[in-house]
Amino acid sequence: MDLIQQTVNGLSLGSVYALIAVGYSLVYSILLFSNFAHGGFLVIGGYICYYALRSLNAGIWLAGAVALIGAGLSAVVVEKLAYKPIRERTSVTLYMLIASMGMSIVIENIFVVTIGGRFRALPPVIPTQSVDILGVATVSAADLLSLATAVVFLVALQLFLSRTKWGLAIRAASYNLRVAGLMGVNVGRLISIVFFVAGLLAAVGGIFLSVKYTLYPQLGSMITTKAFVGAVIGGLGSLPGAVIGSLILGLAEMLAAGYISSQFRDLIVFGLLIVTLIVRPAGLFGKSVGEKV
């Protein structure tokens, strides 16, 4: 009884991580750097949705759409402002990593300074009553919805990557960006599209997280670190890996909290990260990283 409930809890948490981890891995697969500002897109999506709902009195579908597009666009802007100049000058990814940390601080604090750091509860547009699953587990309706939405978006992403021209270009670029460029892909536009998609996915996660846990500027950094660990466990650069790694992480967290101790939860998360990196740095599905010496 208990095990099933905890498993359900874990999967539902993991599905939200998955949405965020996928966007993260997507950027890594192309540009080979960890974009720590990813959490910022999540928060931007959340706030746009909040204001669309509150001030514009829009319905959830319209507000959601606006938030997704807004977050995607902001991701593109961030890329053009902070990463492009560095990328064009040097191939050292370290500098982009530091710049991404800076951007994550900037985005978080722009909200703190302008709107205020106090949490905001979204108007109850997503149903949250508890749902009984066959009498063995109880979930909030919002959790079921977020799981379903995550699946929908991931399937859509998969279709995009496998069936469209740009999807093909992205897959090629994830093997080798430079060669893809030589083959005629407009690299600048490709990167913009990748960031747009990453921002969009993050925003979906952001909206559900805001509904569940209220919206505040630091929401992004907390969850993104966990999603990041999920992406690493699954293998940085691999999209199915990001999803599976996130689900594993969500499960591990819930089971650890349920059966060992709730305080040890975060320790387990980082413990898993370290163990993964020591035993198999490429994660479950990533490309094997060998040392050439």
């Binding site: 009884m1 208990d2 409930q5 905890q6 809890n9 948490l13 703190v112 205020g116 750091g117 106090r118 949490f119 509860a121 109850p124 949250t128 009553q129 508890s130 009984d132 109880t138 979930v139 909030s140 919002a142 959790d143 569940k212 846990y213 209220t214 907390m222 967290e253 819930m254 909290a257 349920g258 101790s261 709730s262 305080q263 939860r265 975060d266």
Partner: protein
């Protein structure tokens, strides 16, 4: 002779002028204005500003105007420690009111002690706020509220004797001195009354997902859940407990209650009980709340913090008057010697051996269907 008289005249005019443009008495106010505890802190600061305004209009204290030096703790102990340091070293305050959190006051206690500036906590209930862990009283730390051994006993009594719930679960914030202490006292007294603790779970300050712990609590067969916390996490716990189908479990909280929790938890707040210091319908406080609404165009939502801040300010002013001078050590002595001071929510007498108020009543509140915390029961100390 005339020159002497003229000089004397000039000097006396100058002296009078100097007395009118008297140097203000600086009082520090330590509160969370941003971050998770902002709702509590903002209310306190608003009340304090109102008091200072009133007092200055009536001529100030000892012929000098009061000046409030406000610092935001950002709900972080580190920033509170820095703020107190600045207040004492840079701003040269003679006393500090705040904070409302036990953890903060425990951290700042050594600093105010060294700086010889008395600090009054509005709602800091952990015993260590005024007494160190060797049992010695902290000469410069004071509080206006009751303490957690008393509060824990009240909560245990409410659960076991009044509401007749014999299996309790506890869910507490491991990062909070307040939660740690209150949990200990509740568990002690609840067991003494014959109750059984069937689940004892913790969470971290930054956690937002409590489903794992709540699932365990659900399976433990508890019929009452005790939440010795404050802030946003409480609201999230209450909401998530309903999500998980725990709506027939009674929830008891303590003085960490805040009306802002309704924003998050909504209907799941109905029927929750809270042990607290005062109640909204108190007729003595009614005119003060009305004035608050007039000045700030908003209800005094966190009425407990508002009341305690208001009374703490008047207590401090009374102490300064009795001390006769606006200096830390003298004010501290006057605070220690407070006996039978009639404030709004209670009559205050301080126990000099531990700087805690004597014979304070506890008020049990219950959140009704309109999501307002209503008076349920008053408990006088034995």
């Amino acid at each position: 002779m005339r020159k002497l008289l003229v000089t004397l005249l000039f000097v006396s005019v100058f002296a009078a002028g100097a007395a009118f443009a008297a140097e203000p008495i600086k009082i520090g106010y330590l509160a969370a204005l941003t971050g998770d505890y902002a709702a509590y802190g903002q209310t306190e600061v608003n009340m304090a500003k109102m008091v200072v305004g009133d007092v200055n209009k009536a001529g100030g204290v000892l012929g000098r105007p009061l000046e409030l030096v406000i610092y935001d703790t950002k709900t972080r102990n580190e920033d509170a420690v820095n703020a107190v340091r600045r207040m004492i070293e840079s701003d040269k305050v003679v006393a500090i009111i705040g904070a409302n959190s036990s953890g903060i006051n425990i951290a700042t206690a050594p600093i105010v002690d060294k700086g010889k500036v008395p600090q009054i906590s509005t709602v800091g209930t952990n015993p260590l706020v005024t007494v160190d862990n060797k049992g010695k009283v902290r000469p410069y730390s004071f509080r206006i509220c009751f303490t957690d051994p008393y509060q824990g006993a009240l909560a245990a009594d409410l659960a076991m004797t009044t509401l007749k719930k014999d299996k309790a679960a506890v869910l507490y914030n491991v990062g909070s001195d307040y939660a740690h202490g209150l949990r200990e006292f509740f568990v002690q007294d609840y067991k003494k009354l014959g109750g059984q603790i069937v689940a004892d779970e913790g969470y971290r300050e930054t956690d937002v997902d409590f489903r794992a712990q709540l699932t365990k609590i659900k399976n433990s067969g508890a019929n009452v859940l005790f939440l010795p916390g404050m802030g946003k996490d409480m609201a999230l716990i209450i909401k998530q407990s309903q999500d998980l189908g725990l709506s027939n479990m009674t929830i008891i909280g303590a003085d960490g209650y805040g009306e802002f929790m309704n924003e998050i938890a909504g209907d799941s707040m109905k029927g929750t009980y809270w042990v607290n210091h005062t109640y909204l319908e108190d007729p003595v406080m009614a005119p003060i709340f009305a004035r608050y609404k007039e000045v700030y165009k908003d209800d005094c939502k966190e009425f407990v913090n508002g009341t305690m801040a208001y009374d703490a300010a008047y207590w401090l002013i009374d102490a300064i008057k009795r001390a006769g001078k606006a200096e830390g050590p003298a004010i501290a002595k006057a605070l220690e010697d407070t006996k039978g001071l009639k404030l709004n929510h209670a009559v205050l007498t301080i126990n000099p051996t531990d700087h805690n108020p004597l014979r304070k009543a506890g008020i049990i509140l219950r959140v009704g269907d309109d999501l307002k915390a209503k008076f349920y029961q008053k408990v006088e100390p034995k």
